[in-house]
Symmetry: C2
């Protein structure tokens, strides 16, 4: 049997999808399967059973990442990871949390059944807490050794419930560091995911080949003015922190739109003190983030947005405190993986387009560690993280076929070099 004869079984794929999306199903038609919850653990047990049924080697690591491995007989073979996550956001949809798992399972099963000898171990891996119910991208951070102690214990936060949930799932916080792998044991990382945006859906293209994942930086900006009587304070003596923050929100959106059209900008929250009708606001704390696929442009964007805040507070007789809260660097997919996916699409006669991912993924963590690729399938209306999340079933099938074909492309090509990233 040659690689050209390997086929996925769409009926079995649908059966798996239906079984898996029953676990944590909500009345609204979505899935509620928070990381380490009963539903998440039940889904893992289900997946482990499917691994056993398929004759894969089941393993789990000290961060709770669950794998089914199809070993290669090649001496010194490295591992190609097929990533997925079973956890969902609260009241999420059926596709974000399930498509990647059933597709990766089906590919490993099809190759195993076809008795194809791969030059690498093929490992389907479910990562713990991708969505960040407790700590965003927890499992992939553990595997790459980038999980410090502050992720499970921090003097300034109550991590007791998180540690209890880890224990309940059989994960000892003190042993998480043992989940770290040696990068030279890996050949690469590949994942099928829904786009969560509307570009594929709107353009009628079946497959998105991810080229980059945007970098993301979040800030807390606190504007300080002076509380004073709203009726008796003279206009020229007003030092209104909320007015300053509002002017900033408008100007920052305009700046981002005009000067950084390839990036995204969001102000997600604003809190005001003391917060009464008749008191001029003394303090306004703004929560904002910016994303860009180009790390230099992201840095420029951050610099411009902070400079804007400083200019505006000077004009409004206020002061501002700037706190950089989270930074996720931009990630670039490995060229051989992008090519393998493109070749797979050509071979299957499936339409495809390169895409930048504006959402975060485990690939963003893995990319610093090993060669990485991602395949996107369309989200109807671009809706995600919602019970209304929908991907047409034919796209799940096409995506799984492209994933299988990409694996086989990688098997026949030279072992790719490590991905570039910053």
């Amino acid at each position: 049997m040659t690689t050209a004869d390997v086929q996925i079984n769409p009926n079995r794929l649908l059966e798996d999808f239906n079984e898996l999306t029953e676990i944590g199903a909500t009345a609204a038609g979505g899935v509620n399967r928070l990381a380490l919850s009963n539903e998440d653990l039940e889904a893992r047990a289900w997946l482990a059973d499917r691994f056993i049924d398929a004759g894969l080697v089941v393993r789990d690591d000290d961060a709770g990442n669950l794998s089914g491995v199809l070993p290669s007989t090649l001496p010194g073979a490295r591992t190609l990871l097929l990533g997925c996550h079973l956890d969902s956001v609260p009241d999420g949809g059926r596709y974000d949390s399930s498509v990647g798992a059933v597709a990766a399972l089906e590919c490993a099963r099809a190759i195993s059944e076809a008795r194809i000898e791969l030059p690498f171990h093929l490992e389907v891996i479910d990562f713990t807490d991708e969505e960040g119910c407790w700590q965003s991208l927890f499992g992939s951070r553990a595997l790459t050794g980038t999980l410090t102690e502050t992720y499970t214990s921090d003097k300034n936060a109550d991590f007791g419930p998180f540690r209890a949930a880890l224990f309940r799932a059989g994960i000892r916080p003190s042993d998480i560091h043992k989940a770290r792998r040696a990068p030279q044991t890996l050949m690469g990382y590949l994942e099928l995911h829904i786009e969560q945006g509307h570009r594929l859906d709107q353009s009628g293209v079946d497959i998105g080949i991810v080229t980059d994942i945007v970098g993301r930086t979040t800030y807390d900006l606190t504007f300080y003015g002076e509380a004073s009587h709203s009726g008796t304070t003279a206009p020229e003596q007003r030092r209104d922190a909320l007015l300053g923050a509002a002017a900033y929100i408008c100007a920052a959106h305009q700046l981002a739109r005009e000067e950084f059209p390839a990036g995204t900008f969001n102000c997600g929250d604003l809190q005001v003190l003391p917060g009464a009708y008749n008191i001029i606001p003394a303090e306004a704390r703004l929560t904002m983030e910016c994303r860009h696929a180009d790390k230099d442009r992201l840095a420029d964007m951050e610099t411009a947005l902070i400079r804007l805040a400083q200019e505006l507070v000077a004009a409004h007789n206020l002061s501002v405190n700037v706190k950089r809260v989270i930074h996720m660097p931009t990630a670039h997919m490995a060229e051989p993986f992008v090519e393998a996916i493109a070749n797979a699409c050509r071979r299957l006669d499936v339409s495809c387009m390169p895409l930048v991912s504006y959402a975060g993924h485990n690939a963003q963590i893995l990319c610093d560690f090993t060669a990485t690729g991602m395949i996107f399938i369309p989200s109807v209306g671009g809706i995600s993280h919602s019970p209304k999340e929908l991907t047409e079933w034919r796209h799940v099938v096409i995506g799984t076929e492209v994933l299988l074909s990409s694996i086989l492309q990688l098997a026949t090509s030279t072992t790719p070099s490590s991905c570039t990233s910053e």
Copy 2:
């Protein structure tokens, strides 16, 4: 003895002020004397003792308003109220809550000692909860019969603690309506207060003669957009409630400044849902107020501000819900009272200027009920509702002298007709 010989005793006034401001004194040099608190009740007991020492008739009504009366022997005499309040805002200053009380007490005492026969009963009255720790202008609303049941019980609010505080102060919520007076028993209402603004202080004038108190309307404006992923949502699909609210805050301040320069406008609070870095805000609830001394201009201002909100939400693809929360009508002081105060200043050779009050006062409630006048003395730097609140002692003395002289002016002039107000 003639009225020209009546004098206040500045030493006794200072002694009273020092004793009274000890009650609820804070480390920061201010006063914390919330309505119905132990400190407020202690201050009332102190004032009742001073009434007794001065030979005044002590009375209290069913809303907890405490009075010391110097009765007139004239048959059918009406009453001139000398208003004050002993309660403070949280961590307030020493002058807002104390100057009016010691000044009114000193005037009644001086007239009593001089054995001057007034053609009206003179009643020093401390009103319950002027500042609105529980319900703003509670005592004056009760006296004028404008306090409905919703002020002490409301299905949508927990008024249990308020009712408990009333009971503890000896006030039965079910009897508050008995505090209502008949307007024909009153001759008028006069109050000395600190300005709480900077106009007197900046212009070096000793006395402000209040001509009007601004009307005030408060609104809750809720802007509705749609929650969505901050990274993957296309710019043209963003329906950002916070961006709409921010644009409104900027535009509304500009509109108020340019088109209603004699009014004031404030946005005091803003709350955002769901309030995360990476979610486009679905809801932004804004708390705002406008004030104007001219009732027609206030109505125009409200109309313009609501129209602006409706225009902006249309432009931002949002919707808005407008809720008018509180309306306090504009109030006009009675011409004979304004004249009596002006004559008093002339007679005492004290500088004075007419002023509009941008803060609310019990006079605003009384004005619909009886002829009303207010005397302002300077606030250093315009600071109020703060431990930094300061009025130079000489201004407290001058204000008390003007208050005494105004009472005597009113005693010699014709009984004034009822004030005009809307």
